[in-house]
């Protein structure tokens, strides 16, 4: 299990941030290489993320769902379950958003197996940290 914490700023009111985060069609493309394959319900989508490594890439396909939603506290947990389309591995994560006026914070708890994990937990941590940091810069414009 890899756990990471990040903050982000939108400069927008908490209500705006809350609505934006829960709109999976807007949120998922904020992950570099991420796209919605099919919006299956209001709180669930089939999605994929393609991670480029120079000429090579890994694609994870799966679901993103709103697992917990506390409107009053503006706290939501998004659950990601995905498989490496070209291998045996999977990448699952619970991403907890706590929103306030101006932005929010993100706690990520991820479990990754297979080829990606074979690089070692330190590498996985660094890459995820960089991926989420990039995600937060895109959230600033959501």
């Amino acid at each position: 299990m890899v756990e990471l914490d990040h903050t982000f700023e939108t400069g927008k009111p908490a209500d705006y941030n809350w609505e934006a985060i829960l709109d999976l069609d807007r949120l998922i493309p904020c992950v570099e290489g991420g796209r919605v394959v099919e919006r299956t319900s209001e709180d669930q989508a089939k999605a994929e993320i393609r991670v480029k490594m120079g000429a090579m890439s890994m694609t994870f396909v799966g679901t993103v769902s709103v697992a917990e939603q506390d409107d009053a506290a503006k706290r939501a947990v998004l659950r990601i379950k995905s498989r490496d389309s070209g291998g045996q591995g999977y990448a699952n994560a619970d991403v907890t958003f706590r929103l306030s006026d101006g932005g929010g914070d993100i706690h990520t708890a991820a479990q990754i197996t297979g080829k990606a994990a074979s690089m070692g937990e330190g590498v996985v941590h660094s890459v995820l940290d960089a991926l989420i940091a990039d995600f937060t810069t895109k959230l600033a414009r959501i």
Partner: protein, 174 residues
């Protein structure tokens, strides 16, 4: 009379390393320049290379071996995202011979930027020239290629190797 060398009489090779937190995911590359021309004259050396002619020959390290498709993909990335069809030209400003060693100084133009560079060449009795130069990409304004959100980077220092056979006197260009 200049002695001219090129792909028919030698190899011009580029070796790249890798860095960053996810360096394990990347490959050390051996890349061959397949279109180039070197000219050796008394006290003067020039070399030009076609930046679109780099081909990946092998890669070591990384999560999985490099296949032909990946090698072609990397060559395309080098062409389109790094070198972008830019110029590669070296012209010596000073060549000092000490036995079989030539201490060479000169100007290297890479993608429109010219900077001084120095390296040694060895010429054996049979006319075989070998040598190695280090090119620090950022000195020429080239941002080293990176992937995985910047956690995997090509090392700034790139090694360039030449191994060529000078033509015999009778074969030389005028």
């Amino acid at each position: 009379m200049a002695a001219v060398v090129g792909p028919d009489s030698g190899t011009l090779t580029v070796k790249t390393g890798k860095g960053g937190a996810a360096a394990k995911a990347g490959h050390n590359l051996v890349i061959e320049v397949t279109s180039w021309r070197g000219s050796f004259d008394d006290g003067s050396i020039t070399l030009t290379a076609d930046s679109g002619s780099l081909r990946v020959r092998s890669g070591s390290g990384g999560m999985s071996p490099l296949g032909d498709e990946e090698k072609a993909g990397i060559a395309q990335t080098i062409d389109e995202e790094v070198l972008k069809g830019g110029s590669i030209e070296f012209r010596s400003t000073r060549v000092e011979r000490a036995g079989g060693t030539l201490a060479v100084e000169g100007d290297l133009e890479l993608l429109g930027t010219t900077r001084p560079i120095a390296f040694d060449l060895t010429v054996d009795d049979g006319g075989r020239v070998t040598g190695r130069a280090i090119v620090k990409q950022t000195n020429w304004g080239i941002k080293p290629y990176s992937a995985l959100f910047g956690t995997l980077k090509v090392a700034d220092d790139v090694e360039v190797l030449i191994d060529a056979q000078l033509p015999t006197e009778g074969d030389r260009d005028g």
